[in-house]
Amino acid sequence: MTVTRAVDILRTRWYVTVPVAFVLAGVLVPLGYLFVRALQADPQTLWDLVVRWRNLRLLGNTIGLAIGVLGVTTLIAFPLAWLTTRTDLPGRGVLTLLGVLPLAVPGYVMAYVLLATTGTYGTLAQTLGLVWPRLSGYSGALLALSLCTYPYLFLNLRTALLGVDPALEESARALGYSRWQVFWRVVLPQLRPGFLAGGLLVGLHVLGDFGVVSLMRFETFSYALYLQYAASYDRIYAACLALMLLALTVAVLFLEARLLRGLLLHRTGSGTARRSVPLQLRAGRWIGYAFGGGVALLSVGLPVGTVGYWMADRVASGLPWASLGSSLWASVSASVPAAGLAALLATPIAYLGVRYQSRWTQTIERVAYLGYATPPLAFALALIVFTLGVVPFGYQTLGLLVTAYALHFMAEAIGPIRSALYQAPPNLEEAARSLGRSPMGAFASVTFPLMRRGLLVSVAFVFLSAMKELPITFLLAPVGFETLALNTWSYAEEAMFGEAAPYALTIMFFSACFVGLLLIREQTATGQRTEAA
């Protein structure tokens, strides 16, 4: 029944239609490009390339890594989310911030750092005499990726935990279940949508990652794909591999949708004002600190410390202030608008999906996720072709880069906006309309302010990803436009870690400031809601 209403909305409201059309085009153009290129392949060579054992091994490696990372991130994110939402642990706010900060650490930096830390000549051995076998292969990729991606899961689980109605837990307790049983049987099932949303981002991140797996020498699909582009100058067979990777992603999206089916409908309309009574940790608090501290040390302290150490070497000969400043400006001037644009585009898509839930609107949402999964190199090449063909004056402009970032990272923005929309039940908008507001006016004055928290998280996610982005930046940035990430990578690639360090540190520091700012806003937002409760 909602299909017709969704179609109605699309027909009558340009401010929904235009972004949706834009997103669909932005995602489908690269897909079309890949098909066109793949069709240029010589069928026999294509067949030989696609049907071979190596691909099966790559598939196994990719899936194995994705499952492993999901497992490890769950082990990290779950206790951390619980500690920061359900206990009286002092310093929960700081712990929350530390749990988000790894998003500011580029994956390749994390990989370089882990490589430099372990091994006979690693920092661990140098400073503590602790010889840990040098990380590489599966274990290395697993650790580096887990440390970089667990915040996606952490934040989603946190929101989910805060959203569970304490009355449910209390009634279960009253029915004679222990705290542990209640957690297992009442709380856990309700965390599933949040877990799936976070898990999806983690999974897609692993599927698409190249930086970490190449440095850790673990062969996954995206790694093979990169080799096709890099080693053989071959756009055509790379396109075939990209399509295979996309097929894998579609399978993941499909699986997630299946697991999610019916779960979201159970979410209650408005957020509960009441929070559950926090568990008093007492002596257990030291275990909490040890865990939280350990995670923070590994995921934030280690990279910052190591990169700082690299930089210390260089401080004497002076820092390249001018270049740092201009690349910081470049990074920010591309990432901030991209984050805003992504949130702006994701809002109508999430809105359609939440308010007019149907197969159609869900498909639109899933399509938006495909942009995230399209290999960035292919994505960028497709945009080159498209831009030059359709809007040549837009080529080599910041606008194109911003658009590309926004389309590519929009999937990260959809989730938080979705959950935020659940906080604003539809009849609030109807009330506003019966009080004389236009549809847009009702959205702007009622739903938008209520979604603010979700929007902030969306903006943060996209901003942080855009700050670290490499392949799209390489190909689509205006000539001479050098971001922090680009500089970091350029120097690190030539083993000039001392030169790379200031840029890497700037990324991390600036991203951390940004996240900190957002978190402060989030705290005040929740504070207002719960103050007198």
Partner: protein, 367 residues
């Protein structure tokens, strides 16, 4: 009779071209008289009453039929005036107060004319009207249910709409508060001269709150009339049952009289053949067996309510419910004579299943 304030004609609503209608050919007028009118749409949940309300408010597009407010067609063939231009206020079941705004800001939300000082002043007035002027800086989630309800009302009334729609506005209040609030709101609407359409599943609420009411079942209106009319002269079995408990009698009618299990009974209108008739418990009385010659029954149960007494009387394998004043005092097991006080109401045949047993109906079920 002047032009009605609200006229709904042949309203039909389907969700999807092949779906069965949720609202089917519904017609009624509100506020045709000299003073404001409160109209209630009563029906079990899922009967389409809220959809009807949403069509009037403009949140749903009517599939067929017209909605006319003060002579202006709001919905009709190729016409759909958006909700914000209808000048119709609505109070939702869960009040839909904006959690990010204070009480005063909520009430001022719909005021868009004049300076902001004037808007604030008018919002204060509206708050005073509902007696919440001391709460204006609070957030709605920090108010009790009854207070929230009154804020919602103030918010709806502040822009002075011609008509307000009330979607089960009292159902989230506890019983005691509900009755009190109901009376207050009714008084307020009457004082202000504002017409309203109330949607509810609570027959007591509809009967006591509305000037006129419509009973809705499966998307159609069974009967429209004054509360007394609908209560004492239900047209269908459904209406008879939904508005309270009643005694059903499967009878053989000829003219204005019928043979019923309780003997020969007068009818409210002429009928012939097998008919189902209804007698409200208060239209039946009992007397000592020796004083009257009527059908005899045995008291099965009684409930003393102070001002009156309800007896359950068994007679020829059927049970009947009788409300009497507290002067008729009997114990369970006593034999009594049953005696109708008023003519029985003939129920429309089309909605009378053949195998309805005679006797008292169960409590109207809460949805």
């Amino acid at each position: 009779m002047s032009e009605p304030l609200l006229s709904v004609q042949h309203l039909t609503k389907r969700f999807g071209p092949d779906a069965p209608p949720v609202v089917h050919d519904v017609s009624f007028d509100v506020g045709g008289g000299p003073s404001a009118e409160i109209f209630a749409v009563l029906g079990p949940s899922g009967c389409g009453k809220t959809t009807t309300l949403r069509c009037i408010a403009g949140f749903e597009h009517a599939t067929e039929g017209t909605v006319v407010v003060q002579g202006r067609t709001m919905a009709g063939p190729d016409v759909h005036v958006p909700p914000e231009q209808r000048g119709v206020g609505i109070v939702f079941q869960d009040y839909a107060l904006f959690p990010h705004l204070t009480v005063l800001e909520n009430v001022a939300f719909g005021l868009r004319e004049g300076t902001s000082a004037e808007q604030t002043a008018r919002a204060r007035e509206a708050l005073e009207m509902v007696g919440l002027d001391s709460f204006e800086e609070r957030r709605p989630q920090h108010l009790s249910g009854g207070q929230q309800q009154r804020v919602a009302l103030a918010r709806t009334l502040a822009p002075e709409p011609d008509l307000i729609l009330l979607d089960e506005p009292f159902s989230n209040l506890d019983a005691l508060l509900r009755e009190e609030t109901r009376q207050e709101v009714r008084q307020l609407l009457k004082d202000k001269g504002i017409s309203a359409v109330l949607v509810t599943h609570d027959q007591e609420e509809a009967l006591s709150f509305a000037d006129r009411l419509a009973v809705m079942r499966s998307g159609q209106l069974d009967q429209v009339g004054t509360p007394e009319d609908v209560y004492y002269r239900p047209r269908t079995l459904f209406v008879a049952q939904f508005l309270g408990r009643t005694n059903l009698l499967l009878s053989q009618a000829s003219g204005r009289e019928a043979d019923t299990p309780l003997g020969r009974v007068r009818l409210d209108r002429e009928a012939d053949g097998t008919v189902l008739v209804s007698l409200r418990p208060e239209h039946l009385t009992i007397a000592a067996p020796e004083t009257v010659d009527g059908p005899m029954g045995t008291i099965v149960d009684r409930a003393f309510k102070g001002h009156d007494i309800t007896y359950l009387v068994s007679c020829e394998n059927n049970e009947y419910l009788v409300h009497t004043d507290n002067r008729e005092l009997y114990e369970a097991g006593d034999t009594v004579a049953l005696q109708p006080l008023e003519p029985a109401v003939v129920l429309e045949r089309k909605s009378t299943p053949a195998d309805v047993p005679s006797g008292v109906t169960p409590e109207p079920s809460e949805p």
